[in-house]
């Protein structure tokens, strides 16, 4: 009896945490991401809410064709179709993918169509790096990744090889490699496209990681807002397993690794790696205190490496062509390339791969500026934990450190256009609602401060709440437990200060 009661208590706590677990599964999901909000998504949201079962999502990852909604059958409706009703987009709809880099790496395949089918992917060289690596020592893989200087693309830009080495050095009997497909940042959709159209690059990267760290298990954690990505990766795993590219004794080597997909349940914070681990373990998606780091004690206590999808998708190329080849691209501190996502607010939305060091202005120029020829007041860079980039900083190079020196955060590389005339107060309120809704609730400043800040702006007109808001953003930034509470206030403050008149009225 006591065990049942204990399980019931825990289960209720878990169910009440994840949006999916207490929502109507038949509900339409309306994207409430930044791009869709700017595209009038609120109107779609209000209308659909009145019509029937409907819920919001931050975000659906179709920012290049906002607004978007996700139907219960897993298909999306975007743009005019979303505004008018919910007629689904064509099933093979994919964004424009282009490259300003010397040589595209991460977008090499997705720029050319879908490589989801194993034979198509293998025809393009997929799994060749794995096959060669398995014939050698795992140290060769570690060495290549280390020499490449690759830094994680999830936002924190932590050196990939350092995580791998820490994990490989542990003495535990089993380890786990995890691909973080919880691409929650409104404004980013590269990982979704990679999982849908180049899943084998991800799986090959994940297997190389598992091989390098000595893991027998690989998990791809994919958010529930990406049903098509989940399906494609599941299919890809089945194909790979049937071809002895996953599972026991891969390609006849001594290396065995089972792959699986774990679905998220609707929580932005689960993109943070320790919250993601809790989510896989069936717990509330709250962050864990560090240390211990996942590389030491992660999933179910096992040493674990968690890498972002884009990070892993680059690994086959790094292993195939050598760390030095990769390190020769980009800047000394930021090696290689990065895939940037441009939302529908640009004239040419889509995915653009650039070498690190490329000026942001070049990307904006390639994107043709704001859609409809309007003036670009700012670019919302790197999602809710990123930055509001004003035109004066458009010359900043795409580079974690150079941007950081200007107080900018590149994050996961999403770019959302802020056109002149946008409702910046509404955008601020929208950002505060996002923070309130997605705060995990563990620490007091974020849990209570986000609600307080939202209530201030929602209930007090004009400039009245200004000082209190700025102080609250400071308190959350200074006092919160994890990156969410510490970083989300940043771009909100930038919005409130850069667009002071727009937010608080003239004379504020």
């Amino acid at each position: 009896m006591s065990r049942d009661a204990r399980d019931a208590t825990a289960a209720r706590g878990v169910a009440s945490f994840y949006a999916d677990l207490h929502a109507d599964p038949a509900a339409l999901r309306v994207c409430r991401g930044t791009s869709c909000w700017l595209a009038g998504g609120d109107t779609v949201w209000r209308r659909r809410s009145q019509e029937g079962a409907c819920r919001g999502a931050y975000c659906l990852g179709w920012c290049d064709r906002s607004p978007a909604l996700l139907r219960p059958d897993g298909r999306v409706a975007t743009g005019e179709r979303a505004r008018e009703g919910d007629a689904a987009d064509a099933p093979d709809a994919r964004p424009d993918v282009r490259s300003l880099a010397r040589e595209p790496i991460v977008t090499a395949r997705i720029a050319r169509g879908s490589f989801a089918a194993l034979d198509v992917a293998r025809g393009d060289g997929a799994y060749a790096a794995l096959a060669r690596a398995l014939a050698g020592p795992r140290e060769s893989v570690l060495d290549a990744v280390e020499r490449s200087g690759q830094r994680g693309r999830g936002g924190s830009a932590f050196p990939t090889a350092a995580k791998w080495r820490d994990c490989a050095a542990t003495s535990a009997p089993s380890r786990v490699a995890i691909a973080n497909g919880d691409e929650g940042d409104p404004g980013s959709f590269l990982d979704r496209v990679l999982m849908e159209d180049d899943p084998h690059a991800l799986l090959e990267g994940l297997l190389l990681c598992a091989f390098a760290i000595g893991a027998q298990e690989g998990i791809v954690y994919i958010r529930s807002e990406y049903p098509r990505a989940q399906q494609r990766v599941r299919d890809a795993i089945a194909q790979a397993r049937a071809a002895n590219l996953a599972g026991p004794r891969i390609l006849g080597s001594g290396f065995s690794c089972e792959l699986s997909v774990v679905s998220g349940h609707g929580s932005y914070v689960c993109g943070e790696e320790t919250a993601l681990l809790n989510s896989i373990e069936g717990r509330r998606g709250e962050v864990r205190l560090r240390p211990p780091y996942p590389s030491e004690r992660g999933l179910h206590g096992m040493p674990t490496v968690v890498n972002n999808v884009e990070t892993l998708a680059c690994v086959p190329a790094i292993v195939a062509r050598g760390g030095a080849w990769y390190a020769a691209r980009g800047t000394p501190a930021c090696a290689g390339t990065i895939g940037l996502c441009l939302n529908a607010g640009f004239a040419r939305p889509g995915i653009v791969e650039v070498d690190f060091g490329t000026p942001l202005s070049a990307v904006l120029a390639d994107a043709g500026g704001a859609a409809g020829g309007g003036v670009l007041d700012a670019v919302l860079l790197g999602g809710p934990m990123g930055s509001v980039v004003l035109p004066r900083d458009f010359d900043a190079p795409v580079d974690y450190d150079a941007m950081s020196a200007r107080g900018l955060r590149l994050g996961h590389g999403g770019l959302v256009a802020l056109p002149r005339g946008a409702d910046v107060r509404g955008l601020l309120l929208h950002g505060l609602a996002f923070m309130r809704d997605e705060s995990c609730g563990r620490c007091a400043p974020c849990r209570l401060g986000s609600a307080r800040a939202h209530a201030l702006i929602a209930t007090q007109p004009g400039a009245a709440p200004r000082d209190a808001l700025l102080r609250l953003l400071d308190v959350m930034e200074q006092a919160s437990l994890c990156g969410f509470g510490q970083l989300v206030p940043g771009p909100l403050r930038e919005l409130a200060t850069h667009f002071r008149a727009g937010v608080f009225g003239e004379g504020a």
């Binding site: 006591s2 009661a5 309130r436 007091a444 209570l448 200074q478 437990l481």
Partner: protein, 887 residues
Amino acid sequence: MSETAWIDGRAVTTQPGDTILAGARRAGVDVPTLCFEPGLAPEGGCRVCLVEVEGKAHPRAACHTALRAGARVRTETPALEALRRDVLALHVEMGGLAGDFTGTPFGALLARYGVAAPERPAARARDATHPYLRFDPARCITCRRCLHVCADVQGSFVYGIDGRGPETRLRVGPDDRFDTSPCVACGACVEACPSGALSDADREAAGRPDGAAQSVCGYCGVGCRIEVSVEAGRVAGVRGVPDAAVNRGHLCAKGRFAHAWQRADDRLRVPLLRTGTPDDPRWREISWEEATARIADGLREVRARAGAGALGALTSSRSTNEAAYLLQKLFRALLGTNHVDCCARVCHASSSHALQLVTGTGAASASYADIERAERIVVAGANPTEAHPVVGARLLQQARRGTPLCVIDPRRVDLCDFAALHLQVRPGANVALFNALAKLLLESGRVDAAYLDARCEGLETFRAFAASLSLEACARDAGVPLESLRHAADLLAEGPTLFVWGLGLSELVQGTASVMALANLAMLTGSIGRAGAGVLPLRGQNNVQGNADMGAMPAQLTGYQRLDDADVRARIARSWGAPPPTLPGFTIPEMFASARRGELRALWIMGEDVVQSDPDETRVREALASLDFLVVQELFETGTARYAHVLLPAAGYLEQDGTFTNGERRIQRVRAAVPAPGSARPDWLAVRDVARALGADWRYAAPADVMDEIAAVAPHLFGGVSYARLAGDGLQWPCPAPDHPGTATVHAQGFLRGRGSLVAVDYEPSPEHGVPEHPYLLVTGRVLQHYNVGTMTRRTPQRRLAADDRLEIHPEDARREGIADGAAVRLASRWGETRVLARHSTRVAPGTLFLSFHYPETHANRVTGPHRDPRSDCPQYKATAVRLARA
């Protein structure tokens, strides 16, 4: 490299795993906290312990930030003060709080940082569904300390967290109320709560306590130290002593809350002389002078008429060492009989006897502290989370920390949820199981050969015996798959193991055999005498260990000294003025048998309700009814007390001074917190006065004087024990000299008997196995909510938590017998029958039944039979063949 850090300018030497908070506390720097629970992993959620670390852009939470050598930390700056104030203000503004926080740590912080308390009506109702616990959601700051102590100290997992973001809140059990939650009312959450959201009935009723006393809990043999707060002569509340070695502040519901018996209306308040019959007792109140004289006269008269052998005494395992010592001394020294026994006879006599035979001392070799040091643990025939809750919680937590635990018990007790292995042994078949494990270890050579060679004897004989056993037969007899036995042997093969057991081993015809067979495993694994390993029988009553230690045994003297040892007799004669009689006396069952034969004529029972607790109730009543003179010291008019000719009102554990000795041989001070009602007196005092009336020159003015004599009489165990040394956590015997620190691990330098003895002891089926037309085996025992015969707990709100005894029956058996959950059942053995209510439960295996015996109307012991372990004389409670019928 410097090992020093600076906190507010004070130098702190860093330690491995150090946090800033730990360093600050060592340096005497007060960093405010709300969610930090000492001893547990940091939660990091309240963010009021923020500090500034030089070179870091943002403040850090002191509770989970490492303190590194060279760090310069500031804990009080205007910026930090402002942050803390604003975070606290968020609770008040947005946390939905209501009420007065005065007197709580949260209230103190609000005051310190100048945050006004909330003034609004409470949005959610308070939960008062439980007899003790209260939850006021309007005062909850969601710090989760309750959740963590519940999970990581107690192991009950009552609390959960619901919702997210600003909707995040505490959940109490699956239904958000205490009464249907798995709460065991240990009260640890109330202690931890910083805002008064969690409270209890005692706290709510308390006004302003005017006194407090540190003492020892009087329920089980764990021996938790308690602090009793007192208000106008009444118990206002009980807390665990935070730094106590035994319980570190933790308690169970009985220890913390079940004290209402102390002021129950039906407490005995004056000495009584029975005028009616035992069935219809009428009493005349008499003075202590008259009572003392009548007892002295009665004992003298019987001795004159029927001889010293017609007198007997039962000391009380609920009472103090001093009382037990004096009563056995009175009967031995003044009346001239060794007919002295205590209830250890009907519980761990087999354990004590077996350990004495094979190790040289009849007590635990290990201490509770070994639980946290253990690398593998076996718990056999015990249900510690119910019967010894604080030790049960420690075992559970150690298993959660990853120490493999093997539970061997006919029931799927709660610890099994955390165990690596559960061997569901058939009641009464322990020996077959243990022998199989020994054979598996020996045959695979996975024994501690060096230990056996250096410390033990009998290995070759034992090896030959093991070789003669059939594993299949053992597995069949034990009712456990051979595969499970192999897993258990694999676990033991890893090395020294802590063996914990209860009455499921002892209270059987093969009780002594069970413990010897287990001790064989303890020796094969090299466990006894090693830290983190060894033997740790869980003693039942608060002072059952002490009663045996004091010599309340018919064949041994104080300190387990031999009756026939000339030096001992001489030493005791010097102290007592007369040597003890030479012939061993009767055990409890022998005394009852003797009484029924008309030989034993007078009995003194100190605080024990043998009518309810001893087996074969009908025959116990016959024995008591046949006596010419019965003296009973009691708190209440129990079933046994009704047979008394003179009934003396006793002081309970909250009302007297003395010492108790717990199951790890720890002698601890008991102190009166409140006065006993009426003219009720401590047992030792009543005994002393009768001795004086019998002409003895007993000058003891206080229990301390008695302890001094005990130390002199049994110096090898207690020579260094005196009240002056018993402050705090007391002393673990052996403590032979005033400068001896006491003994945590016995046999550390080799077995006290010389060599540990491996004993070939074969399994024999119980006389209750395979009884025709009695297809079920009944096990009796205790449940969490009550203590033993329930004399005390039934007079407290524990009664609301468990209102009756229930017969646990497997649903398959219940279906076959047509017995609905909650239905009345006629339960019959060859020895008697009773009527009880059934509860369907998968904790018992099909074919096994379990019944508690806390309520007199259950008459569980009408069903238990006459079988006794021939070696220890301990009755068989743990396997009785029964049949069932719908009542």
